[in-house]
C-alpha cells in the first residue's frame, strides 16, 4: 500500500481548532505536493463534504429539518453510536478491529439494569463503562497474549459477551423503576440532552488522547508499522490493550446511555452497534490498514449515516430504499478514499 498522500494526517492537528487547521493544511498541501495531495484532501474530507451537501439539501427540501429540536434529536439519537465510533477509530488506527462493541453494549446494559435494581441507579450506570473497560482490556489481552488476530478474537469474545447477557437475564427484560436511572439517557441540562454533553466530552477526550499524548502517537506508530514501532522501543502489546480497553469503555458508556433511555435492561440492546460504528469509521476515511485516521471524521461518518435516515423520514421517502442508499453512500465514500490513497507506482 502506498500511503504517500495521506502521510501528513491528523496525528498532531490541534484538537480544538479544526477549521483553522483545515485551512492551513489545505493551503500547505495544495502548494506542496500538487495533484496527489488534492486527491489526499478528497480522501480526508470526503465525509465532511458529503455531510455538508446533504445538510444543505435537507435544509432546502424540508422545513422540519433545520430546527434546533430536530438537529438536537439527531445528535442525541446518535450519541451512543458516535461514542463507540470515536473510540473504535483508535482501534482501527492501531491496526485492529473490534467486533465486540455491540456485545459489550448488550452485556453492559443488562448489568447496569441489574445493578440498578439490586443496588443503586448511579452504581448501575457506572457499572456499564467499568465492565466495558474490563472486557475491552480482556479482548486486548487475548489478542496480544494468545497472538490471535483481533478480528477473530473479538468475533469470538462477542459471542461470549452476548451469551453472558442472555445468561444474566435468562432472556427476560430487567425493568428499572427508579426515575434517577433515566437521567443519563433522557435528562437535559439547560435544554441540552445530557447524552449530547457526554458525547462531546468523550469525543474531545478521544481526540486529545489520539493527537496529544504519547499513547496516541504510539497508536499511530503501531498501526503504521508494528515492526518499526517494536524496534523503536514501543510496548506494542500495551498499546493494543489500551486501544481495545478504550473501545470497550466506549461500548460500556454507550450501553449506559441506551439502558438509561429505555429504563430497562434488554439482552438484545446495542447488538447492532458493531457494524454501524465500523462503517462510520471507514466512511470517515480512516484506513483499515491502520496508521492513518482521525476521530472527528468518524463522528462525521456517524452523522452522515444519520442524516440519510433522517432525510428518508422527513421527506416521506420509501423507507425500503434506506439501506440501499446507505450502502451506496458507504461504497462511494470508500471508493473516494481509495482514489485519494492509491497512487500508481
Amino acid at each position: 500500500m502506498n500511503i504517500d498522500s495521506q502521510a501528513t494526517d491528523d496525528s498532531s492537528a490541534p484538537a480544538l481548532s479544526i477549521p483553522s487547521a483545515l485551512l492551513t493544511r489545505l493551503r500547505a498541501e495544495v502548494a506542496g505536493d500538487g495533484w496527489w495531495s488534492v486527491l489526499g484532501l478528497v480522501r480526508r474530507y470526503a465525509v465532511l463534504v458529503m455531510l455538508a451537501a446533504l445538510f444543505v439539501v435537507l435544509s432546502v427540501a424540508s422545513s422540519a429539518f433545520l430546527t434546533t429540536e430536530n438537529l438536537q434529536n439527531i445528535v442525541n439519537e446518535q450519541s451512543y453510536l458516535a461514542i463507540v465510533a470515536a473510540a473504535g477509530t483508535l482501534v482501527i488506527i492501531s491496526g485492529g478491529f473490534d467486533l465486540s462493541t455491540g456485545a459489550i453494549a448488550q452485556v453492559g446494559n443488562v448489568v447496569a439494569a441489574w445493578v440498578a435494581v439490586h443496588y443503586s441507579s448511579t452504581l448501575g450506570l457506572a457499572a456499564a463503562p467499568v465492565l466495558g473497560l474490563a472486557l475491552g482490556c480482556l479482548n486486548g489481552l487475548v489478542i496480544t497474549r494468545l497472538r490471535i488476530h483481533s478480528f477473530l478474537a473479538t468475533l469470538a469474545s462477542s459471542l461470549v459477551y452476548a451469551g453472558l447477557a442472555l445468561l444474566i437475564t435468562n432472556g427476560f427484560l430487567i425493568p428499572v423503576k427508579d426515575p434517577a436511572f433515566t437521567v443519563l439517557g433522557q435528562g437535559r441540562v439547560g435544554g441540552v440532552y445530557i447524552a449530547v454533553l457526554v458525547l462531546i466530552a468523550f469525543v474531545l477526550v478521544a481526540m486529545v488522547l489520539l493527537n496529544r499524548t504519547v499513547l496516541g502517537r504510539h497508536i499511530f506508530a503501531v498501526g503504521g508499522n508494528q515492526q518499526a514501532a517494536e524496534l523503536s522501543g514501543v510496548r506494542v502489546d500495551a498499546v493494543k490493550v489500551a486501544a481495545f480497553g478504550f473501545s470497550g469503555l466506549a461500548a460500556g458508556l454507550a450501553a449506559a446511555i441506551l439502558v438509561s433511555r429505555v429504563a430497562s435492561g434488554e439482552p438484545q440492546t446495542g447488538g447492532d452497534i458493531t457494524l454501524q460504528a465500523i462503517a462510520s469509521v471507514i466512511l470517515g476515511g480512516t484506513s483499515i490498514y491502520g496508521g492513518v485516521g482521525a476521530v472527528w471524521r468518524s463522528v462525521a461518518g456517524v452523522f452522515l449515516l444519520a442524516l440519510i435516515a433522517n432525510g428518508f423520514d422527513l421527506l416521506n421517502a420509501n423507507p425500503f430504499y434506506k439501506d440501499l442508499v446507505t450502502g451506496l453512500v458507504i461504497v462511494s465514500a470508500v471508493a473516494l478514499s481509495a482514489a485519494g490513497g492509491r497512487r500508481r507506482r
Binding site: D4, V214, G233, R235, S287, R345
Partner: protein
C-alpha cells in the same frame, strides 16, 4: 486432446522448445523512448531512451538508486512511466501493466520474489497457466514440470512448499515460471545477489541457454564482472540518466565504474577514524547463540572502533545485530554491555542503554511510513516530551528540526511525510532517529542499502564521525568494499559462526570474498576465537 502425453513440451501451449523462426530482420525486443519516472521527490529515471535488440543479453548496471531496477520494472509492467514510450516487439504499449507484459511475452524476475509461499514449486511455476478439463485441474503438473526442469538443468522438488525453499531455490522457481509462460523477454533484477558461486555459474549458463533459444535477457546487476562476461551490450545508468550503451567488448570494469560514479572511486570512502586507544570493549559477545541463525558468535567492540561483520545473506550477520538489540531471543552465551552482562534484552531496554540498531530494511523495520519525518525521529524519545501525559509539540518539533539540520535531510520539512523522501534521506531520518541520545553502541545493518551515491558518501561520513565521537560501531553490509574501507577490524561470519578475523588494511577484498563464499581461502588466518 491434441496434446499427447508423450509430448516433450512442457510450457503453456507447448511452445517452449520450438525454435523461434529467425527472419533476417527482427523487430527490437524492447524500445524505450524518453522514459521518465518520479517517486515523490526522487527522479528515478529521466528521459531514458534505449533499444534492446531481440536475442541479446543486455546488462543494466549502475549504483544503488541509479534507476536500473526501476527501468527493469517499467519494462516488466510493474511501474508505469510518467513520460515516454515503450515498444515491445514492435508493438506500442498502451496501458502497459504486468498482465499485458506477460501476455506479450515479457517476464520479470524481481529482487523481491513474488511467489505464493504456501503453494508447491510446481503449482507456483504453472500458476496462471494451469491446464484444466471441464473446469477441473489436469494432473499433469508434475510431467510438465519435469520436462521444464530437464531443459533448465535446475534440480527442484516439485512438491516442496515454496515457503520451505532457500532464496536461491525460490529464484529458480521464478526462472522456471518465466519459462513456463514462454517468455521471450526476461528481465532479471539482481538474480545472483543471494546465490552461491556455484549457483551463480548455473544461472549464467541458463541465461546463455535462454539466448541460444532466441530469447532476450535484460540482466540488471551490480556485479560488473558478470555484466561484462555475460552481456552482449551494457547500459550504464547514473542518477536516473542513461550514461551510455556499448558492446561489452569495449568496456572494462574500470570504465564502467567511472561511468557509474562520474568521478573516481577513491573519494567515496572517508578516511577511517584514528585507531582508538586500547580500552575495555563496550560490547562483548561470548559464544552467543540464537535459533538456527546464530550458532556461536564471540566478538568485541571498543569505544571509537568500527568493527565490520562481513558475511553473505543468510550467514546470520543480521541476526547477530538483532540478538544484541533484543529483537531476537538469546538462546545461549553471554552479551556484555559495558562490563555488565546484558540479559533479557528488549529494544526498549537497549535504547535506554544507549545501544541502538539501524535495521537492514528501513521500510519494513525502520520507519513508520504513514507518519511524518518528525514523528519518526522522535518515536523512541517521546517520554522526553511527556508532561502530565501530554506531548509538548513545540519541543518535539524543535528537536526534530535540529536533527534534520544535523543530518542534512531534504526537504527540510518537519511535517513532510517520510514516505515521499528519497531512499537516502529516509536512511538519514533513521540515523537522526537513533542519534538523538548520542548512543554508546551503534549496530548498523546495511546502512547504505538502496541509497544514492551522494547520500552514501554522507552516511559514511556520519559513521566515521560517530566513531570519532567515541561510539562503538558494529557495521554489517552486503557491500564488502564498504565494510573493508571503514572498519578497523572485520569479523567474517558464515553459517552463524565467526570463521575469521581480518585486518582490512592488510587483506585484499577478493580474499575475504573467497572466504565468505567458502572457496579456498589461502591467506586468511584461522578462526580468531
Amino acid at each position: 486432446m491434441p496434446q499427447s502425453s508423450s509430448s516433450p513440451v512442457p510450457g503453456g501451449g507447448g511452445r517452449i522448445t520450438l525454435p523461434q523462426p529467425r527472419g533476417g530482420t527482427r523487430a527490437p525486443a524492447v524500445e524505450l523512448e524518453g522514459i521518465s519516472k518520479r517517486f515523490g521527490s526522487t527522479q528515478a529515471l529521466a528521459d531514458v531512451s534505449l533499444t534492446i535488440e531481440a536475442g541479446e543479453i543486455h546488462a543494466l548496471v549502475g549504483e544503488n538508486g541509479a534507476g536500473k531496477s526501476t527501468l527493469g520494472k517499467i519494462i516488466g509492467g510493474i511501474y508505469v512511466p510518467d513520460e515516454g514510450r515503450l515498444t515491445v516487439a514492435g508493438v506500442a504499449t498502451g496501458g502497459w501493466d504486468t498482465k499485458r507484459a506477460v501476455s506479450a511475452g515479457v517476464a520479470t524476475i524481481q529482487q523481491e520474489l513474488s511467489l505464493v509461499p504456501d503453494l508447491t514449486v510446481a503449482e507456483n511455476v504453472f500458476l496462471g497457466v494451469e491446464r484444466s478439463r471441464f473446469g477441473l485441474l489436469r494432473g499433469d503438473l508434475r510431467r510438465r514440470f519435469e520436462v521444464l526442469q530437464s531443459q533448465s538443468g535446475f534440480k527442484l522438488d516439485p512438491d516442496a512448499k515454496v515457503r520451505d525453499l532457500r532464496i536461491a531455490d525460490q529464484q529458480k522457481v521464478e526462472v522456471l515460471r518465466a519459462l513456463a509462460r514462454d517468455a521471450r523477454v526476461i528481465v532479471m533484477d539482481e538474480p545472483t545477489s543471494s546465490l552461491t558461486a556455484d549457483e551463480t555459474a548455473k544461472l549464467h549458463d541458463l541465461i546463455h541457454a535462454l539466448q541460444a533459444d532466441g530469447r532476450t535477457v535484460i540482466y540488471v546487476t551490480h556485479f560488473l564482472d558478470a555484466a561484462l562476461e555475460h552481456g552482449d551490450r551494457v547500459t550504464v545508468l547514473r542518477d536516473g540518466r542513461l550514461i551510455r550503451t556499448s558492446p561489452t567488448a569495449e568496456e572494462t570494469s574500470d570504465s564502467l565504474v567511472e561511468a557509474m560514479l562520474g568521478r573516481s572511486l577513491e573519494i567515496t570512502f572517508p578516511a577511517r577514524p584514528p585507531e582508538p586507544p586500547a580500552a575495555e570493549p563496550v560490547l562483548s559477545l561470548r559464544d552467543v547463540r540464537s535459533g538456527d541463525a546464530v550458532r556461536g558468535v564471540s566478538l568485541d567492540v571498543r569505544p571509537g572502533e568500527i568493527v565490520g561483520l562481513a558475511g553473505l545473506v543468510g550467514s546470520g550477520r543480521s541476526e547477530v545485530a538483532r540478538v544484541i538489540f533484543g529483537a531476537e531471543p538469546l538462546d545461549g552465551g553471554e552479551i556484555l554491555v559495558g562490563d555488565r552482562p546484558y540479559q533479557n534484552a528488549t529494544p526498549r531496554r537497549s535504547s535506554r542503554r544507549k545501544l541502538v540498531l539501524i535495521p537492514e530494511d528501513r521500510r519494513q523495520q525502520g520507519l513508520v511510513l504513514t507518519q511524518r519525518v518528525s514523528d519518526n525521529i522522535t518515536l523512541p524519545h517521546l517520554r522526553k516530551f511527556n508532561r502530565a501525559g501530554f506531548l509538548m509539540h513545540g519541543r518535539e518539533r524543535s528537536l526534530a528540526r535540529r536533527m534534520i539540520e544535523r543530518f542534512d535531510i531534504h526537504p527540510r520539512r518537519v511535517d513532510g511525510p517520510v514516505a515521499t523522501l528519497s531512499g537516502g534521506n529516509q536512511q538519514k531520518v533513521l540515523f537522526a532517529k537513533w542519534m538523538v541520545d548520542e548512543p554508546a553502541v551503534v549496530l548498523l545493518d546495511e546502512p547504505t542499502r538502496g541509497v544514492d551515491v551522494g547520500a552514501k558518501q554522507h552516511i559514511y561520513e556520519i559513521i566515521v564521525e560517530l566513531a570519532r565521537g567515541g561510539a562503538a560501531i558494529l557495521l554489517i553490509s552486503s557491500e564488502l568494499e564498504e565494510v573493508m574501507a571503514l572498519s578497523h577490524r572485520v569479523y567474517l561470519i558464515r553459517d552463524g559462526r565467526i570463521v575469521g578475523q581480518v585486518d582490512p588494511r592488510a587483506v585484499p577484498v577478493d580474499d575475504v570474498l573467497f572466504s565468505l563464499f567458502e572457496v579456498q581461502a589461502p591467506v586468511l588466518p584461522a578462526s580468531a576465537n
